[in-house]
Each structure stands twice: as C-alpha cells, then as structure tokens.
C-alpha cells in the first residue's frame, strides 16, 4: 500500500548543523544575553537579582525615551519623504548611456564611500560660522545659523547631512530599476500618445516598485538606527534636540551602566524596527497590487 514511501533518514539533520551553529553564535546567543540582562538587576559582576518585567515597565514610562522616540520617528519619516522623491528625481535626470553616464554614476556614488564619522566631521566644519563655508555664507547674508546652540538648526543640519549622504543610494537603486525597463514600453507609450507624466505614473513608477521597496526599507532601518552623525556633530544636543534612540540607548548602557533598562530597551528597539519594516513591507507589497475597481462599466 504505502510501500513506496521514501525511507525516513534523520541523519540529514546533520547537514544543517553548521548553519544552526553559525546563527546560534552570531545572533541567538548574543540576543539571549540581552534578554538575560533585561530581567535582572546587575548590582556587581558577581551579584544580580531577578526583577521580572520591572525594567520594561520603567523604560516604557521613561519620558526621555518618549522624547527620543518621537524625534526618531519624525526624523526617519522626514528622511524617507525627502530622500525617496529626491532620489527618483535624480535618477530620472541621470544620463542613460555613454561616458556621461559613467561619470555621473561615479560622482553620485562618491558620498556613499565616506564613513559616517567623517561625514559628520565634514559637516561640523562646513557649518561653523567662523571658518565653515556654509556657516560663514549664512552669517554673511544675515542668518544667525548655529547648530551647536539652536535646537532647530541642529536638527535640520543632521537631516541635511543624512540627505546629502544617502540620497545617492536611493538614486542609484532607482537608476538601476529604470535601466531595466525595456525600450518597448517607452515606444508603446509614444505610440499611445502618453504624456511624460503618464509615462512616469503608468510605466516607470509601477516598474520601480521592487527597487523602491528596497530603498524605503534600507533608508528606514538605517535612519532609525542613526548614531554616529549626531554624536559627532552635536553629541545629541543642544539639550536633547538631536538625541535619537541609539544615542539614548548608549547613554543608558555605556554612560550610566544601567544594563537592565538598557537591555530591556534594546529589545523594545529591536521590536519597533521589526514591526515598522513588517508594516512598510506589507503595505508596499499591496499598494498598487490589489484589484482596483474600474472607473467605468
């Protein structure tokens, strides 16, 4: 009857053992250490007390954290709202072939090669009102620009820095997506009498959905974890104007050595990123993919 079933061979499990080991040491064990810290009060290296969910409750009620989370959300949303459209616009303007294309690609990619802390240092000097080009120029036209003292200025400087640093990534992704659209689509659009806007709306944008999804997720995750740039530029100040989540966490874990609350917050931080990526991913997968109702019938 069932004599033709394949024999069960449990030795095959050994084949995935190396992967399990790697993942265990690189991800699971470190994460579990954090989980371990998050439920204990570490008093000294040899003494710790189990405290249950106390740290989680404390962290959730922390007003500084609420402030940092709010700033972080605003920052990440601003980054997406500026960098994605700007990146698309840039990619649309880039030449598609010839030596000009190669040249523009190299120029656009330049900022991506600079390390985070160097970017921050460049902008720190660039924005100084005594020797920096930007700061000096603004001062000369009567703007009292000072990122070290004015919270708004500091915040916008960090945003501008991120836009300068990372918009090229979006542009390059979109550029690659645009090059992948077959010429026949543009020809068909010309035959059908479509306008430039129609070509963008009905051909380019739908075909870019995949790369845009990657761009949005990458930029969201990356900007949500921003640390080095504000740390170097303003150290999170003035006040807490540019203290984002990572910096808040570092202050807790390294500065105050509050390992328990820091661990509890790390887990929450991790879950927030996971949740946002999940929601964004599913939303983007669905947008423009559902069966829309026709306008007539």
């Amino acid at each position: 009857m069932n004599g033709y079933l394949k024999p069960v061979n449990n030795r095959a499990w050994w084949l995935i053992a190396p992967v399990c080991l790697c993942v265990a040491f690189s991800a699971v064990l470190p994460l579990m250490t954090v989980v371990n810290y998050s439920v204990q009060d570490v008093i000294s290296p040899t003494r710790s007390v189990f405290v249950g969910t106390e740290w989680f409750e404390e962290v959730m009620r922390d007003r500084d954290l609420h402030g940092a989370l709010g700033r972080q959300l605003l920052f990440s949303m601003s980054v997406l709202l500026i960098e994605i459209p700007l990146g698309i616009l840039l990619a649309l303007c880039m030449p598609s072939k010839g030596w000009k294309a190669s040249l523009v690609l190299v120029l656009v990619a330049l900022s991506l090669l600079i390390p985070w802390n160097v970017v921050a240092t460049i902008w720190q000097i660039f924005g100084r009102s005594d020797i920096g080009l930007l700061g000096r120029a603004l001062a000369n036209i009567g703007v009292n620009y000072n990122y070290a003292a004015n919270p708004t200025h500091a915040w916008f400087t960090v945003l501008l820095m991120d836009v300068w640093h990372w918009t090229p990534l979006v542009a390059l992704l979109v550029y690659a997506g645009l090059r992948a659209i077959p010429e026949a689509y543009y020809q068909a659009a010309r035959i059908d009498g479509a306008s430039r806007l129609d070509v963008f709306r009905f051909i380019q944008l739908p075909k870019l959905r995949g790369v845009l999804m990657i761009a949005v997720l990458l930029r969201f995750m990356d900007s949500f974890m921003i640390y080095t740039e504000p740390f170097v530029l303003t150290g999170g100040g003035p006040g807490a104007a540019t203290t984002f989540l990572s910096q808040y966490l570092t202050q807790k874990a390294v500065g105050q050595f509050d390992l328990g609350p820091a661990a509890a917050f790390s887990l929450i931080y991790f879950l927030i990123i996971l949740l946002f990526c999940f929601v964004l991913y599913n939303w983007m997968l669905r947008v423009g993919a559902q069966d829309t109702e026709p306008r007539h019938e």
Binding site: P182, A184, Y185, Q187, A188, R190, I191, D192, G193, A194, S195, D198, F202, I203, L205, P206, K207, G288, A289, D291, T292, E293, P294, R295, H296, E297
Partner: protein, 360 residues
C-alpha cells in the same frame, strides 16, 4: 487612413560609407490604404527599422516618409496617428484591462461614451470582454499580448496598424486563431495593416502583398503566389518555401546546360541565355524522369524522408544536392538511398538567375 509612401535610406551610424553601414539601403515603397502587407525577412534585415521609421519612432537619416502625399518625416508617432504592436507584450501593469484599452483613446480626448463603445467592440473581437475589470499585471503572456493588440486596434481613425512580430510569444495553437482574428479585423475595419515577421507561413497567410527583405534591401514585392512561382531573386527563392528552391550553378553553351561533367540537353522552345548562370527549380516541381529524357539529369539518391503527406528526396547531381517533393504512392516503389534516378531539371517551371537576379 492614408497611403504611405517611403523614399528613404537609413543608417544608425553618423557617416555611412559602404553598403554595410546602412540598416536600410535606398528604397521606394508604397502601401495602399486598406491593404494587408507583410514585411518578411531574416533577423537583422532591417524590417523592424523600416517599421519604426513608418511609425515615427526612428527618423530616417536620408529621404522622406509621405502620408497621402504629405511629408511627415519630422512628425511624432502621435501626429502621424499610427498604432504599433511590439514583439513582447507591453501592458500598463497598474491599470485594468479596460483602462489599458481605453488609454490611447483617452490620450486623444475621445468622449467617455465613445471610448466605452470602442473598447467593448475590440474586447469582444479579441475575447477579452470577460477580463475587462481585471488588472493587467497578473495575466498570462498571451492575454497580455492580446491587450497590446487591442490597444493597437482600438483607435478607429489610425493611418495604419503596424505589427512587429506580435505572435512570437503566443502558443502555436492560439497563433492561428489570432492571425485569423487579425484577418477578420482587417476586412471588418478596413485598416491598413503592416505585419513584420521572419516566419514565411505567417507572412504568406496574413498578407495580400508580401515584401521580402534581406540585408537592408527590399528584394521583391508581390502576392504569395508570385513569390512562390516567380522569385525575382535567388534569396527569395531560397527563403520562401520549405524546403527552398534548388539553386544550381550551371554553364550554358550551345544547346546544352552543363552541370560539372553532366550535360543536359535543352528542350525545344525553352528560352535560355548563354554563359555562367544559376538554375532555380522548386522541389515541388522537380520530378522523376528517365535519365535519358531531354532536360533530365542522372542523380544519386542520398536520402528519402517520409513526411506524412509526401516524400522528400535528396539526391546528388554532379556534386550538388537537389531536393524533390514526391508523392507517397510512387509506382513501382519509392527510390532507395544509393539508387540512380533521373531528375527533370529543365522544364517550364525552371528559372535562370544571373548575379542572383531573375533573367528568365
């Protein structure tokens, strides 16, 4: 609706010098209003370039394109009012099938009532009427290509509809159906249809007038029958037909045709020229005969293939291979490989070519 005339040459290179630099060598062609045409030729012969020049996607480097005598060389596809269907399906993913079909009409500002009517007519013709509300993205390749065809046919007032190998991605079975549909559409709407293909069956069944192209040149324009019976060029003879025409290099001197060391007597009344020329005879007209018969040559049979409806005989005449299409019920028996048979090479169907062009 328009009569399309082309007097042009085209090169994709900036400074064409030699013939090889040209995608299209100087040509003069006319497409009558309401005709069904095919451009037939192997890949890279310039047929797609010719089509794109007609639609306005490519501007010819020399010469003019005339619609009803008006010079439209500088006009955009939109101004020429041309429809074109491409080799691979092009659909607007985010739109429904209905919106896809309506798109060219909306862009021309047609009233929504007329649009609705046109879309339904075309959708019904192509069996898309049940899918109108579906999004175009998830549909199979042949349905997407039907949508592309529909977008080409939906505009009632087009100057011409151009097809660039539109049935490449479609299953063979559906191909026949769609080709028949296109013929129906042609007789129903009276549109000028120009169909590019490298498939001779497709070209010959679709068109009233076939233009055979090779290496940027239009070699012959004519009905399917005339291409078969009177190929004007050895390329046409070889390209059309399956298998193509037998082409044998011969010497004619006095009253005989020499093929290597074989001399064939020329039948009385047959018009020939003297000198080194090429003899052409279609396998369909190559018949068995007594080797001593006037106009016949002895041949050694190399291969006999039974193709179901007929036998295909391959024989060697003085080092040259000749194919013949023979009936299956041969009396007394079909020849076997190694047999010596006689092939009637000179008959009223025999054509002679000099420099690849038909003399008689």
């Amino acid at each position: 609706m328009a009569r399309i005339e082309l007097r042009l040459a085209h090169s994709y290179l900036p400074n064409p010098q030699r013939d090889e630099d040209y995608a299209l060598l100087p040509l003069e062609l006319a497409f009558e209003d309401g005709g069904a045409y095919s451009l037939l030729g192997p890949s890279g012969c310039g047929k797609t370039t010719l089509l794109n020049i007609m639609s306005g996607l490519v501007t010819p480097s020399e010469g003019v394109v005339l619609f009803d005598g008006r010079d439209v060389t500088a006009h955009t596809p939109q101004m020429r009012n041309i429809a074109q269907v491409f080799q691979f399906p092009v659909v607007y993913d985010t739109m429904t099938v209905y919106d896809n079909l309506a798109f060219p009409l909306r862009n021309r500002g047609m009233s929504s009532q007329n649009i609705q009517q046109r879309v339904h007519v075309v959708a019904e013709m192509l069996d898309l009427d049940k899918l109108l509300r579906r999004r175009a993205a998830g549909l199979s390749a042949d349905i997407q290509q039907k949508i592309s065809l529909g977008r080409g046919l939906v505009r009632p007032d087009v100057s011409a509809v151009l097809f660039d190998e539109p049935l490449t991605v479609i299953d063979p079975q559906l191909k026949w159906q769609l080709r028949r549909k296109l013929k129906e559409v042609h007789s129903e709407l009276g549109l000028t249809l120009i169909y590019v293909t490298h498939d001779q069956v497709e070209a010959l069944t679709f068109a009233d007038e076939v233009m055979v192209m090779s290496r940027g040149r239009v070699l012959q324009v004519g009905s399917p029958a005339s291409l078969f019976e009177e190929p004007a060029h050895t390329f046409v003879g070889h390209f059309i037909g399956s298998p193509g025409m037998n082409l044998l290099p011969v010497q004619i001197a006095g009253g005989s045709v020499s093929l290597g060391d074989i001399h064939i007597r020329i039948p009385a009344g047959m018009r020939t020229v003297q000198g080194a020329i090429t003899l052409g005879l279609r396998p369909e007209y190559t018949q068995l005969a007594n080797p001593d018969h006037i106009g016949a040559a002895p041949a050694e049979v190399r291969r006999v293939q039974d193709l179901g409806s007929h036998l295909l005989l391959t024989a060697e005449v003085s080092g040259q291979l000749v194919k013949a299409r023979l009936p299956r019920d041969l009396e007394p028996a079909a020849p076997e490989p190694g047999d010596i048979v006689g092939l009637q090479l000179l008959c009223e169907r025999t054509r002679f070519y000099q420099n690849e062009e038909l003399i008689t």
